[in-house]
């Protein structure tokens, strides 16, 4: 597999950034994507035929590959003129002729009307080489999940982090009707997790992705709750003051969150096993929105200690505080990229709220969203190639996905208001 890294430099002037030096250099890191052919999934001889089930799997798999920025599904027009595909006798020359590098041959067996088994064999076309095969089975309702599993296997076999079975937890509704939901990364299969008439907000994932931390007013005070998705049990873990913006360490069972239990909004570190807490910030200003570095050694947070909310980083023990943002008067909601190299956060420039990405190695800030409504709450995909965020660009708040370089913006929710997405940090 040949993959040369290219750097494309874009120099663009952003109207927003304060002061006179209005030039931001945006660096796009790109690599050529791998052209993939996915001929129609064939039924096995013994299979029942269910084209809607087959099409759902096929479309989902294609959409995943298209989203990946690793693979580029070839337009189906390219292979319309090839002889009918026979997974038992593949003519690799045909597929080489349409520039496919990788071929995914899928066979579907529907043994009972609600039971699917999908076998995929993946080949490298030019070398006529078999790469891997996997077989996934399940109820028909899990067709999308089967497709996501295949796409995740593709990622793993090309040394990338799987992301397609990851979920996003978020808040649906507004004012008193805010409830916690979760959905697939692509916005499909939304599931409601909380049912009450109080505000539930700012959800985030536990390290094993089985629990959700969130803030609820169910006791008429913004308290932090730990909710087990699969047992339904929820425990209150705060006592007084505002308690919110929890982030679970990616490496151990420790959580950082904002609390004013001692009178002022400060950042606390909580051991999730023992419940022991340690205060990390000590000043009369607002300290909020903590987020772990991927190695668990540092914490980025927002502090208003110098007058306006700015982004800072401290060591996980609370020491060695250094300021990251200097331009602009309002930054918040940092999210650390999974490779540790970048921080995404929300900045207000003039009256606009956009998402910026700060490269910690190069000390450069680049603008990710372009002045379309208010853009808030960035959250990275497990592989760091995408972000979920909230925007009201289309009127009401909805959740959008965007690639790390500002490409491929799309809404994944519709109807009502949907906000505060938190993408799982990892996929098993």
């Amino acid at each position: 597999m040949k993959r040369t890294a290219l750097l494309i430099l874009f120099i663009l002037t952003t109207a927003g950034l304060r002061g006179q030096q209005e030039i931001t250099i945006r660096i796009r890191e790109g690599m050529p994507m791998i052209p993939v052919a996915l001929p129609d999934i064939q039924y096995t001889a013994a299979s029942l035929k269910d084209d809607s089930a087959r099409d759902e799997i096929q479309k989902t798999l294609l959409a995943d590959l298209d989203f990946s920025r690793i693979f580029k599904p070839l337009p189906r027009d390219y292979y319309r003129y090839l002889p009918p595909f026979n997974p038992q006798a593949i003519n690799f020359k045909d597929w080489a002729s349409v520039q496919a590098n990788v071929l995914i041959a899928g066979e579907l067996e529907i043994s009972a009307p609600d039971r699917l088994v999908l076998s995929v064999k993946v080949y490298e076309v030019n070398g006529e080489r078999f790469i891997f095969s996997r077989t996934f089975g399940g109820k028909k309702e899990f067709g999308r999940l089967i497709a996501h599993r295949v796409a995740d296997e593709m990622m793993k076999h090309f040394s990338e982090k799987p992301i397609f079975t990851s979920k996003i937890v978020y808040v649906s509704g507004s004012e008193n009707e805010q409830e916690i939901f979760m959905m697939d990364y692509d916005g499909a299969r939304p599931t409601r997790l909380t049912f009450n008439t109080f505000i539930d907000m700012l959800p985030s994932w536990s390290r094993n992705n089985e629990k959700i931390l969130f803030t609820s007013y169910r006791r008429l005070n913004p308290d932090l709750y730990l909710f087990d998705i699969y047992s339904g049990q929820s425990d209150i873990i705060s006592a007084k003051g505002v308690n919110y913006a929890a982030d679970w360490s990616p490496v151990e069972d420790k959580t950082v969150y904002t609390s004013s239990k001692e009178g002022n909004a400060e950042i606390y570190l909580r051991d999730m096993q023992s419940g022991a807490e340690k205060r990390l910030t000590f000043n009369p200003a607002i300290d909020t929105s903590p987020c772990w570095s991927p190695n668990g050694r540092e914490i980025a947070f927002t502090s208003q200690r110098n007058g306006t909310p700015q982004i800072y980083i401290m060591d996980a023990e609370g020491s060695n505080v250094r300021r990251i943002t200097f331009e602009g008067t309002y930054h918040d909601s940092s999210a650390w990229s999974p490779d540790g190299s970048r921080l995404a956060f929300v900045s207000r420039i003039d009256t606009r709220f956009d998402i910026y990405v700060y490269n910690l190695k190069r000390n450069e800030m680049s603008k990710l969203t372009e002045n379309a409504g208010r853009n808030e709450n960035p959250s990275w995909s497990p592989d760091g190639r995408h972000l979920a965020f909230t925007s009201n660009r289309g009127g009401r708040y909805q959740i959008y996905l965007i690639d790390y370089d500002g490409q491929n913006v799309k809404a994944i929710t519709s109807g009502g208001e949907n906000r505060m997405p938190k993408w799982q940090k990892s996929v098993k």
């Binding site: 913004p222 919110y244 208003q304």
Partner: protein, 176 residues
């Protein structure tokens, strides 16, 4: 002649009887109508004192009435504006008068700002309001605070006037 005498006697008898009968049915003559009445006591319509009203009304009624007015804040700020101080003084007077009452001060923000920072900012607004009222002599133990961040805007508009209305601290009476 004799006949005439008999007739006369008969006539007299008839007259006599007739007059006797009339005498039996005679009713006492009516006197003047007596007026029946008594003077209306001059009772004043009751005017309840504020204290009595306070006792009488439910918490919901008191809050609906807006006895304790809300105050507004500047953008990004949690310091008490000079023009809001008289409102707080009035609220403090009321709280000093009704010493058993307890209140909740809710801090709110407008929609421009992040959810997280606004949670802290809303609390700072509620806290600044409590401190101001406490400095005017109200025991701080009677005042609870809560932040709603930008969760509960008062008005929906997206103009400066609406944003101003939404940046507020509200007083809710929670105990009489």
């Amino acid at each position: 002649m004799k006949k005439l005498v008999i007739l006369c006697v008969a006539l007299m008898l008839v007259l006599l009887f007739a007059s006797c009968g009339k005498k039996e049915a005679k009713v006492e003559p009516q006197t003047a109508v007596e007026k029946v009445e008594e003077p209306t006591p001059q009772v004043a319509k009751p005017v309840l004192s504020e204290e009595e009203l306070f006792q009488q009304k439910s918490l919901e009624q008191l809050n609906k009435q807006g006895i304790l007015a809300k105050i507004n804040f500047d953008y990004d700020s949690y310091s008490i504006r000079d023009d809001m101080k008289p409102i707080l003084e009035k609220n403090a007077d009321w709280l000093t008068r009704f010493k058993t009452s307890m209140i909740l001060i809710e801090g709110h923000c407008d929609e421009r700002g992040t959810i997280e920072y606004n949670m802290a900012l809303g609390e700072k607004r509620a806290e600044a309001t409590r401190n101001y009222v406490a400095a005017l002599g109200v025991t701080p133990e009677r005042i609870k605070i809560v932040s709603y961040g930008k969760n509960k805007p008062l008005v929906k508009g997206v103009d400066d006037a609406s944003f101003f209305q939404n940046r507020r601290a509200e007083f809710v009476i929670i105990k009489k």
